[in-house]
């Protein structure tokens, strides 16, 4: 009897953490310390990548679930990634939990109403440029998991002032051909000799050799997304919209 009682107490914290009895309880601050001292060499101090891939994203292609992530850390991913065989099971679990935390914005309490926000999204024409769960048009970034990638403050700023921080791979450029034709669009690819863009006017694809161009201007302070100010999107609607976007965490709706 006494023995059972002791086992019950020992098992309690494990059960509370939602783990099976064999799983160690991850310690995220410990995982962070190990990551920054040993993993950051290749994956960047904040997990944004370097020689190794970026890890600050909701889905890791080579480690889609916790078990595969722990295995990747402990045993490595041949041929490039060494395994951290020197770490204990608990340390591996802690690094894995920390890596997971890098790729997912924690759920925050928001004052807006996501149901109303969805209506705002529809009524303001957001879907004419963005795709959620396959619905909409693909001018701008795909938003199905935007709530896991970006926090509310970032989303507010991105709607009010989209040029403040441009989305990856959405640099606006304006080119002028030797014949004087000007085309403005999103840069799709560029190397020292050629540039490819999709024009903002009709969404058509263009490819140029740079020696056929008079000028290539990078519009670093512009975004192809319109800025929604107080007049076009009152504060209450903005909060509802942000609350809706925050619910988009990649899963089926």
């Amino acid at each position: 009897m006494g023995l059972n009682w002791r086992l019950g107490i020992l098992a309690l914290p494990v059960l509370l953490a939602g783990q099976s009895a064999h799983d160690p309880v991850p310690d995220i601050p410990l995982g962070k310390r190990i990551f920054e001292s040993q993993c950051a060499v290749c994956h960047g101090q904040d997990g944004s990548g370097g020689r190794g891939p970026a890890l600050n994203r909701p889905t890791l292609l080579k480690a889609p679930d916790d078990q595969s992530l722990r295995r990747a850390i402990a045993e490595g991913l041949p041929p490039e990634m060494p395994g951290a065989w020197q770490l204990s099971v608990r340390e591996v679990a802690s690094v894995a939990a920390y890596v997971r935390s890098l790729g997912s914005v924690p759920v925050e309490p928001l004052k807006g109403d996501p149901t109303r926000g969805k209506l705002v999204y529809q009524s303001k024409g957001c879907a004419s440029c963005h795709i959620i769960q396959g619905q909409g048009r693909a001018h701008g970034p795909e938003l199905t998991a935007i709530g896991a990638k970006r926090n509310a403050a970032f989303l507010r700023e991105a709607i009010r002032n989209p040029a403040a921080e441009l989305a990856e791979d959405y640099l606006l450029v304006e080119i002028e051909t030797r014949s004087g034709q000007r085309i403005r669009g999103v840069r799709l690819s560029e190397d020292p000799f050629t540039i490819q863009l999709r024009d903002t006017a009709q969404g058509r694809f263009h490819s140029f050799r740079k020696n056929a161009l008079k000028d290539v201007r990078r519009l670093l302070s512009e975004s192809s997304m319109p800025a929604y100010d107080e007049a076009s999107l009152p504060a209450a609607e903005l909060e509802d919209l942000v609350a809706y976007l925050a619910t988009l965490r990649g899963g089926p709706q």
Partner: protein, 529 residues
Amino acid sequence: MRSFFAVYALWIWPSVTWCQKPVPYSRILEAPLKEPGSWLTYSGNYQGHRFSPLQEITTANVHQLRVRWAYQFPLARTEVSPIVADGVMYITAPNQAAALDLRTGRPLWKWERPVPADYQSIGFSRVNRGPAILDDKLFVATLDCYLVALDLATGQQRWAVRVADYKPGYSMTLAPLAVKDKVIVGLSGGEAGIRGFIDAYYAASGKRAWRFYTIPGPGEKGNETWSGDSWKTGGGSTWVTGSYDPSLNLLYWGVGNPGPDWNGDKRLGDNLYTCSFVALDADTGKLRWYFQFTPHDTHDWDATHVPVLIDAEIRGRMRKLVVNPNRNAFYYVLDRETGEFLAGRPYAKQTWAKGLDDRGRPILVPGMDPSEEGTLVWPSLNGATVWFSPSYSPQTKLVYVSTREVGAIYYKREAEYKPGTFFAGGGERRISAKEQWGALRALEATTGKLVWEFRLASPPWAGVLSTAGGLVFSGTNEGNIFALDAQTGKPLWDFQAGGQVSSNPISFEIDGHQHIALAAERVLFVFGL
């Protein structure tokens, strides 16, 4: 009768078999003059020039270059710089080598040595940068730290010698350097707390001729530049092929970063001979001189570059020089007989030093060390340039260097030494990709002064070749393989290879016609007119 033979010779052309002749030291030494159509050592010549004396491909006809053949490596991205001799191209991949028919790229033989299941690359990719050739053998350095001699004609193993134990983190990725009767190799492992060295082995037997430790032991000069026992795990890798001056009989070799990389608290002192060039007697391995570019480095700025040896007039006097665009963003001109610092200046953006003093030591900007909260410094840990080769053209007297313009926030963390694991003590976060760029820069060889630059879309990983046809060849991360006018930097030809170029170009002849070879991702392309 004569014409009959001529016709007959033409007719049998496709079935001509090449004679794989021995490649004695004298051939390598004299190749630039006597057989410019061969490429017999990593940099083309012992002086580290990566310059081809061939001049069939010129500024006027380079636009006609096209792919003659391609070879696909079985594994990942290649950093190979091939060797070409007597109608055969010799290439390597990690623990692999092959001889290819120079006309077609078809394999004549292949060799492979298994990578042990418990082998790990700590802090670098699984790559190999090429073989060395000497006499009747091809020499390959393996990931698991064996130097292997292969029969030139068949690829069969003649001997294999263990250079180091891979388990604590030693590895080899470089092309060996064959000099006289010896083969010289260096090591990777600067992020694993190794104690680096340079080794020479007799080509005939595989017996070790000498070893030079890049971290001096107790009682040796330089050991006092390491506090406590920190020398034991001091790093000082030697993972890029060196150069050689036959007249001085000196080997020049670059030494990597101290360990742990970003936390110097427990290795106080200058940490010799990390981040230095060392000049060694090629027969004995004895140190003649050293020059340390980055004393007590905390940014991972290995000086593992190909030393470029040139003779030029400095302040009215002909001098034997070694020049180097360094990872730390400064260009250096040294006397290669003595190591005396003669000139230096930044050739890329840097924020860590106010300049160099009259002995070439950096005058530090305070507060640029990695820190707990992060310190923004240019250049990033991969530096203003890295392992890939610069080129020197004796025609233009310019040094061409692929230059990276990237800053990073450097972090310092604890580092605990456990053999076979990372011993780094931090890391970096690079500035946004939008702010990163690169350039192929042409620098005046005796000063480092910028003469022209060709702007690149992102920080490059490709080496440079210059040719007597007045051209410079290199590649980009976006997959371009290109040629510029060596005098002006004007682009004259480019080819989209479909993958990042992170290797070194070479040039050679096939049937008397000049060709260029450069790999992109895992495909080696051979171009000709």
